[in-house]
């Protein structure tokens, strides 16, 4: 059985590879390469997989899931500039792919044992672009 929880955070970023020319950056990242940055309302969906506990009837306490998502992702990233304020994005380009991967890394240790396992992380950068990561 799967259970999902959603959270939102608003952040700015720049998608730019210093090894590439301005023109190459423009061609690869489009307006995302704007040197002054730009922002999104990110929507994060975290899905856990497991069997409901026979006593509580729950796969995982959703309040605890909310707390982990807030502590590991929303608090450090909301209303921040990812490149300047949220490591590792001082070194890693904060594409939606890389932000999704980083969120997985931050969340996974909290579900390393117990009934519920981290199944997927979905991150919407806009309503029409999103990334799914299932680990591995």
């Amino acid at each position: 059985m799967y259970i999902s929880r959603r959270a939102e955070f608003s952040a700015s970023h720049i998608c730019r590879n210093e090894k590439l020319s301005a023109q190459e950056n423009q061609s690869l990242y489009g307006p995302g390469a704007n040197a002054n940055g730009h922002g999104h309302n990110y929507v994060l969906e975290v899905t856990l997989k497991g069997d409901p506990d026979p006593e509580t009837g729950m796969i995982f306490d959703l309040k605890d899931l909310k707390d982990v998502m807030l502590r590991e992702v929303v608090d450090p990233m909301d209303h921040r500039h990812l490149n300047f304020e949220v490591p590792p994005f001082d070194k890693v380009i904060p594409t939606t792919e890389n932000v999704t991967l980083e969120i997985w890394r931050r969340l996974a240790p909290h579900f390393a044992d117990g009934r519920a396992r981290l199944h997927s992380v979905r991150l919407y950068e806009t309503e029409d672009t999103f990334v799914d990561y299932y680990g591995g």
Binding site: C15, N17, K19, S27, L28, Y29, G30, V92, I93, P94, T95, T96, E97, N98, T100, L101, E127, D128, T129, F130, V131, D132, Y133, Y134, G136
Partner: protein, 141 residues
């Protein structure tokens, strides 16, 4: 591996009708969709690709190139058309969202220009309440 999805939109009309069935049967099968003059939708097409994140660029897919490809292969063909008459593979089979999804999958697969990422999933939203999902299991070679 990550999966990246982009949504695209096209507006088109269609009619669901089987020439070899009676009017009553068509009406029973397809309801309002059988209206003789057709009707339209704002379709939302979700294209999901799967691949590794390029270590240097940080992306799994060049979104500009994917957009260009999907516009050329699909949107240009479907947008502002009467699907039953204007989209060749759907002249002979009913233009249900299911068949539209199959046609889109076949066209994308046939012209897919990349080894990585591969085409992984297609989603056709006819209305908010009518959505078809298609897993692409034949890997591109």
């Amino acid at each position: 591996m990550v999966r990246v999805t982009r949504n695209y939109r096209f507006s088109a009309s269609h009619r669901l009708h089987l020439a070899n069935r009676s009017d009553e049967e068509n009406q029973r099968l397809f309801g309002k969709c059988n209206n003789p003059h057709g009707h339209g939708h704002n379709y939302v097409l979700g294209v999901t690709v799967e691949g590794p994140i390029d270590a240097s660029t940080g992306v799994a897919v060049d979104q500009g190139k994917l957009d260009e490809f999907v516009y050329r292969e699909i949107i240009a063909l479907f947008d502002h058309t009467y699907i039953n008459m204007d989209v060749e593979p759907l002249r002979e089979v009913p233009a249900t969202a299911e068949n539209i999804a199959f046609v889109i999958e076949r066209r994308l697969q046939a012209a897919w220009p990349w080894t990585q990422p591969r085409l992984a999933h297609i989603r056709v939203e006819e209305t908010k309440r009518n959505v078809i999902e298609l897993d692409v299991i034949n890997f591109h070679v």
